[in-house]
């Protein structure tokens, strides 16, 4: 039996495979590329590229898939902050070098990439995540390797991992004050609508308790699958129930469909205002400002804020990435959390996780959305709560704000009506 073509085929495929493996081994590490990153930030592919004077930091957001539209902007603001820090002499005298990975809108990929960043690149910190699912996927990984994750988005609360710093709003910094404001200004009959996953479910459990305690009524509670786009049935139910306000925890594309169909059905913001917690400036662009004009959102930051820090931030962001770009709450959080981490490292004198965690308590930063401060106990930040109304130009006008930054209370321990909720969660530990 001689060397037949198909036999040769086998050997050839085999050799190809070996080559590929070899290629992956050294990861073509000599090329340090700088495409798509702001001016001076050097981007490394591998920790091996770095010398003693550099610190690798991980950036892990979805750059492809459904979440890419939201998350790439957060990546941009994180890179902007890194550039600022490097321009001011870096951290501990060393330059920060971002190592960017793609979470691909797929939660297991987030876990895998986080693993890679911590084990292969040995980054002391990962800035990343958006959805709660991506955070929950990364949580066992950062805990297993005692790494740090800085997470930029508001979420449902009820969590305090020693390896995660939560830079978005806890429920008491966004949802609870929003419900208070709604009941005071707009009425007691509230219609709840949300996407069917953890965040809306848990958020609405708390809302139910709070509204009941304050003497209001939840007239109806409706959930639709993620990416659901047909809201005619629900709008019919809204008409029937005739609530004073709608509290909206829909996520992503569903918001576009919901607001358009609500508008087409002739329900105006004057008649039944909607308050959303997942609709920021970028989403308003997607929905169309004429459709959502007059409705409300609750956040800690709006692009329209007139503080000096914010004017400078917006200017720098648009200078770097384009005049047509808008910023919003998670983008701002992505920006200030890099600064918070850098300050904590300076305070600790090292990038070691345990030391940084200890040093983080009380670290402050003058963020574009007002001063923020890390609460060392629950590793969330105190921040100002702001209710905004969508304007004709797609920007929010602030209609209410908390007098001072609100302390984070992820388990809603300060509220009597929430005692049942926090019991459920603390039982498990």
């Amino acid at each position: 039996m001689c060397f037949t073509p198909s036999n040769k085929a086998l050997s050839f495929v085999f050799i190809c495979f070996l080559f590929t493996l070899a290629a992956c081994q050294d990861g073509s590490s000599d090329s340090v590329e700088a495409e798509d990153t702001p001016a001076d930030v050097q981007e490394a592919e591998d920790a091996e590229d770095l010398d003693e004077e550099q610190i690798p930091v991980g950036i892990l957001h979805s750059l492809s898939g459904t979440m890419a539209m939201s998350e790439t902007s957060v990546r941009d603001s994180e890179l902007l902050a890194i550039e600022e820090i490097n321009d001011n002499g870096g951290v501990l005298g060393k330059e920060l070098v971002p190592i960017i990975e793609d979470g691909a809108s797929d939660w297991p990929t987030f876990a895998e990439r986080a693993d890679k960043l911590l084990q292969e690149d040995e980054v002391p910190v990962i800035f990343g995540g958006w959805t709660s699912a991506s955070r929950k996927a990364m949580q066992p990984v950062v805990e297993g390797h005692n790494g740090l994750l800085f997470y930029p988005v508001q979420y449902e609360g009820m969590e305090a991992s020693p390896n995660i710093f939560y830079n978005g709003a806890a429920p008491n910094q966004q949802i609870t004050p929003a419900i208070d404001w709604l009941m005071e200004e707009k009425g007691d009959d509230i219609f709840l609508i949300g996407s069917d996953y953890v965040f809306p479910r848990i958020a609405n459990q708390a809302v139910n308790e709070q509204v009941e305690d304050a003497g209001g009524t939840i007239v109806e509670e409706q959930y639709t699958p993620l990416d659901h786009t047909d809201y005619n049935t629900i709008i019919a139910r809204i008409r029937e129930a005739d609530p004073d306000v709608i509290f909206n925890t829909l996520n992503g594309d569903s918001n576009v469909a919901f607001f358009k169909q609500l508008y087409d059905a002739g329900i105006t913001a004057d008649e039944i205002p909607v308050l959303s917690v997942s609709v920021a400036e970028e989403e308003v662009q997607g929905i169309g400002s004429e459709v959502i004009e007059g409705h409300y959102a609750s956040w800690n930051y709006y692009q329209s804020l007139g503080t000096d820090e914010n004017i400078e931030f917006v200017e720098r962001f648009q200078e770097t990435y384009g005049e047509d770009r808008v910023v919003g709450d998670p983008i701002e959080a992505g920006y200030f959390m890099v600064h918070l981490w850098a300050k904590a490292v300076e305070e600790a004198g090292t990038t070691d996780t345990d030391e940084v965690r200890k040093a983080a308590d009380g670290i402050e930063f003058a963020a574009p959305g007002g001063p923020v401060e890390i609460n060392g106990e629950n590793q969330h930040v105190s921040k100002t709560v702001r209710i905004g109304e969508v304007q004709e130009d797609g920007q929010f006008e602030q209609v209410w704000k908390s007098d001072e930054p609100v302390e984070p209370d992820p388990f809603l321990e300060e509220y009597d009506w929430a005692s049942g909720l926090s019991e459920i969660v603390t039982d498990e530990d």
């Binding site: 039996m1 036999n7 040769k8 085929a9 798509d36 960017i100 797929d106 699912a133 953890v198």
Partner: protein, 358 residues
Amino acid sequence: MHERQSFFTTKQGVFTILIVILAILPLLMSDFQTNLLGRFLAFAILAVGLDLLWGYTGVLSLGHGIFFGFGAYITAIYITIESSGGGLPDFMMWSGMTELPWLWQLLSNPVAALSLAILVPMFVATLLGFFTFRNRIKGVYFTILTQALVLTMVTLIISQQQYTGGSDGLTNLQTIFGFSLSSPQTQLVLYFLTLIVLTVVFFSSLRLVNSRFGKVMVAIRDGENRLRFSGYNTAHFKTVVFTLSAGLAGLSGMLFVMQIGIVTPTMIDIIPSIEMALWVAIGGRGTLLGPVFGALLANTGSTYFSESFPEVWTYLMGLAFIIVIIYLPKGLMTIGDKLTKKRRGSHANQSAGKPTKL
């Protein structure tokens, strides 16, 4: 001389060399890379199973995510129960559950859980095969049906979040049989376990396709009606192969979830299900060895591209797939044919369609 060469260029020979190399690689690679490669090996098991069904029997399933998912979810549920140490998993408490549902209780026994991870997909496939193949649903209609089933399954998992963790999936998988899933030692053991399982699966499949049964499989692919007129009940044969293939997918899901420590609906959705068929197509249908290479190369490739070019890696992967499909429509396994043909001119082109320049 000829004797020795012939062993190393047979499927058995190449596969043996591959396995030896894969057994040595962990010495050279970091823990993370070993773990990653272990996951790809789990995919290779699924690819071999899919090749039996598609490559040899000619039944294309774009729904293997379902069977992979059953294996993965059942294993993950067991690990979740073990990890939560008797308490309720957190997502159940949020959803207002007060005690473990009976389905879950059934899976708290490791032997039951790990057997069901393979048996449930097999049972589902038998049921499905029984209703479709007997009614002569075949070709593209069967394929579309499998896609629809994937969609149904994913919707079901997401909507039943009190039982399944919804779109977040089951995330906090800590220990299995008391061993920490995040320790490198456990992962190394799982790597070799996966390698051994892949070896057994590969050689058993090779035996199967070289047996009389295998001849019937190929006959179904090449001329099902003729076979039926000769008195064979092809529906039975197809159901058996489909069941076997589903069982291997469940096994693959089981090994995969132990190595990644998380399971979500995104892992078994339509796109991953199509990717699974892609591994087989890229490697070479009806070769068994090709799909193993296909699974390993496609996943190594996407990891490599996504690490090196996080902005544009999806395009690069797409491009790589297109190039392979255009120039090697029968998969990477025919690459040697193409090269030989080029050297010998158009001497031997009757086997692989029209000659194509490389």
